[in-house]
């Protein structure tokens, strides 16, 4: 740790004393709450968040919300955990959707069921507002712990101009792995041994790599993890072996995909510059591509081998544990307001994420936006086949065990089968303590 916990505790005590002393003076004023928010894509989001919170404060005089920028998704988790330890947690946090399970296991989340019940609605009614695919990451042990705020799925992006040059019809994008392989071969250009244009690029850096592996495994009929229980992942399975072998074949056998591990920004730059004719990337990059591509592009569902399926990504609103009752209530008001159809739609248009609230797509502004940008519609349509994002006990290290091995495969250092066996072994080791107190704790 960068600073001592005792020190933070000391500061927290000092803070509590100070607030206790000033409490009578504040009792008449509005309830002050903090909202921690990350900016995973670009700086413009911070400005949009300021606009949103300002509007909330103007329409809710009893509450004074302050938006606190907390860096990336990972940084936001660190800062939230530090403030919980210090006894001064923020009232609400926009948290990466796959961190919720791990936080719940560590007792760091407030169960939202009582707040939903206090509104006189049922859990089913409340969750019913959101796309079904998003509910898996918000509900743990049948209790609601998060409210979906902005979400994404992976998409296939195609450079339509290059497809036409290669004699392919961009209005009929590839739908299966076989078709995609064929397209990628036709779209790859070589000068001797050197490739001047890659057929397809799929990102692989920590975080993205695990998500793409889940995507490929799901389109191959498989599952990445046990959706009902955080102690199991399915790395050493035929469906994941097929997925990794195909990815590896694109690199080593067909030579239509750049070798090595390439992070997301490098993939999108490569696509924008025309160096890669197709890419698989998040819907969150749609706005970036729309603003920067100097060619006609097309987006399509991720092609299937066995079935059409994709994982979701994005973030949910949570209330950290250990919050005072009045602040909890104020946070709940803020959360409901932010995820309402109008605000959800506004945020979606500002950022490029899709709106989790289904009613958002019935608002006139959104209907008009989708008519103008049909590519955004593809992203929403793919939600019909979307499923939860992997979340386990210690999600990040468990994911990293797979990613390290996938990177070895893409670098030609290991064969898919031995890589997946090693990844499974390492992941099981990390999950062991959790299984010891759940699935393997026997009477």
């Amino acid at each position: 740790m960068l600073f001592s916990r005792r020190l933070m505790l000391g500061l927290a005590i000092a803070g509590t004393l100070a607030s206790a002393l000033t409490f009578p003076a504040l009792a008449e004023g509005p309830t002050e709450i903090d909202l921690f928010f990350p900016v995973p894509v670009d700086g413009k989001l911070a400005r949009d968040m300021g606009t949103l919170i300002k509007e909330f404060n103007e329409t809710h005089p009893a509450i004074k919300a302050t938006a606190v920028y907390t860096g990336s998704y990972d940084d936001t988790l660190i800062k939230t955990r530090a403030s919980i330890k210090a006894g001064k947690p923020p009232a609400a946090v926009i948290m990466s959707a796959n961190f919720l399970l791990d936080m719940q296991i560590e007792n760091e989340l407030t169960n939202l069921d009582p707040l939903i019940a206090a509104d006189g609605t049922t859990k089913e009614q409340f969750l019913g507002q959101f796309f079904p695919a998003l509910q898996g990451n918000a509900v743990i042990n049948r209790s609601v712990y998060g409210v979906p705020f902005h979400n994404s799925t992976p998409l296939l992006y195609i450079n339509a101009d290059k497809a036409k040059d290669a004699g392919l019809d961009p209005s009929k994008p590839p739908q299966t792995w076989a078709e995609l392989t064929d397209w990628a071969k036709k779209l790859t250009k070589r000068e001797g041994d050197k490739v001047t244009q890659w057929g397809i690029a799929i990102p692989c850096a920590y975080d993205y790599c695990g998500w793409m592996m889940e995507t490929l495994t799901m389109t191959n009929g498989g599952r990445y993890y046990n959706e009902e229980f955080g102690g199991e992942v399915y790395y050493d399975t035929p469906s994941m072996l097929g997925a990794l072998t195909w990815w590896n074949d694109l690199v080593t056998k067909h030579k239509v995909h750049p070798p090595g591990a390439t992070p997301g920004p490098a993939v999108s730059t490569s696509f924008i510059s025309g160096n890669a004719a197709m890419m698989m990337l998040s819907t969150g990059s749609l706005t970036y591509v729309r603003d920067n591509a100097k060619f006609a592009y097309k987006v399509a569902f991720i092609p299937r081998n066995v079935r059409n399926a994709v994982p979701i990504g994005g973030a949910s609103l949570i209330v950290p544990a250990g919050q005072e009752a009045d602040k909890q209530k104020a946070a709940w008001t803020l959360i409901k307001w932010m995820t309402s159809p109008e605000k959800s739609g506004w945020w979606s248009r500002a950022t490029g994420y899709f709106a989790p609230n289904m009613a958002a797509y019935k608002t006139p502004d959104m209907v008009e936006f989708l008519n103008k940008n049909p590519d955004a519609k593809t992203a929403v349509e793919q939600l019909d086949v979307a499923k939860p994002w992997f979340a386990t006990y210690k999600t990040v290290p468990v994911r990293k065990t797979l990613e390290d091995e996938v990177m070895l495969v893409l670098n030609g250092k290991k064969q898919p089968k031995e890589a997946l066996v090693a990844a499974q072994k390492a992941a099981d080791e990390t999950l062991k303590p959790y299984n010891a107190e759940t699935s393997l704790k026997l009477p």
């Binding site: 001592s4 020190l7 988790l77 490098a266 070895l408 107190e437």
Partner: protein, 316 residues
């Protein structure tokens, strides 16, 4: 005058020896009290932000949870054993050694070369010195973001210029064989100018008369370098080596920004491993144990080098 130096002690010869010592101690304390008072503010802050945190790390390194919901319990040296048995840690240590040697040697060599070439002060050398010093002024995070673009496979600046010379374009940061060396290039680029400053200062201290004498005796440039300049620069070398080694352990901003230790832990350095344990694994015990091991190694290294320096000072 000095506060810490006690005045002559007027002690009665008949007093028992034990009392005498006590007397002397209390007197000593009284005379040095102002010194301690003057030091107090910095001591408070050091205690709060440095020693307090170090003590906390020491304590945390001895505790661990058996299962996620179990309370922490005292485990002695188990955390240290677990860290030493972790292949990711030993991998990070090996990477860090390669990184330390591979950045210290070239950057010091370059720094010496620059300093020798630019030791005379005139308009041209001043401009060149400023140019070479420029990378030091750029924050590591900003520099990393720049190099991220330079290293982009196929479309980055590097491939744009040298791409046609290579048979196959490498994935600079995505290939586990190359990534660590790519990271090292940034460190060398960033630090060589900084170390040059120390060598420039060291060169000012080379006695002019000795150089002139050597010149008159017919010593060539190489002989002057080999027998006069390099021996005179020995303390500078020692100092810069220590700084470069410490930098190799403590400056990992570019790993954070560019590779996050990847691909496949190829660029994982010890400090980043500590971060991963604390943040990603949420394992404070192991993170503290790894911190302790790193601190011990660094303190050992520093103590050794300062003793060598002190010996040299005493000997000459």
């Amino acid at each position: 005058m000095s506060f810490a130096e006690p005045a002559a002690l007027p002690v009665a010869a008949s007093a028992p020896p034990r009392l005498q010592i006590l007397n002397r101690l209390s007197h000593r304390f009284k005379t040095s009290l102002p010194a301690y008072l003057l030091l107090l503010p910095s001591l408070v802050f050091l205690a709060l932000f440095t020693y307090g945190a170090m003590g906390r790390v020491l304590v945390d390194a001895l505790y661990q949870r058996a299962t996620p919901r179990a309370p922490v319990r005292f485990v002695g040296l188990d955390n240290i054993a677990a860290v030493l048995a972790d292949p990711a840690f030993t991998g990070a240590v090996v990477n860090n050694l390669v990184y330390a040697v591979g950045t210290a040697v070239p950057s010091i060599g370059l720094a010496l070369l620059f300093a020798l070439a630019l030791s005379r002060t005139n308009a041209v050398t001043s401009v060149l010195r400023a140019a070479l010093f420029l990378p030091v002024l750029i924050p590591m995070v900003a520099a990393s973001a720049l190099f991220l673009f330079i290293f982009l496979p196929n479309v980055g600046l590097l491939d744009y210029y040298i791409g046609s010379l290579l048979p196959v374009l490498p994935n600079w940061l995505g290939d586990s064989d190359i990534a660590l060396y790519a990271i090292m290039v940034i460190t060398i680029w960033k630090n060589a100018g900084y170390y040059m400053l120390f060598f420039l200062a060291g060169l000012q201290a080379v006695p002019e008369d000795v150089m002139e004498a050597a010149h008159l005796d017919g010593a060539g440039p190489y002989q002057r370098l080999r027998h006069i300049i390099l021996p005179e620069l020995k303390p500078t070398f020692l100092f810069v080596t220590v700084i470069a080694t410490l930098n190799a352990v403590t400056q990992v901003d570019h790993v954070f920004v560019m590779t996050k230790g990847g691909p496949s832990n190829a660029t994982n350095l010890v400090l980043f491993y500590v971060y991963q344990q604390a943040v990603e694994h949420y394992d404070i015990g192991k993170a503290s144990a790894a911190t302790l091991l790193t601190l011990a190694a660094l303190m050992g290294l520093t103590a050794l080098s300062f003793r060598t320096m002190a010996n040299r000072e005493g000997g000459s």
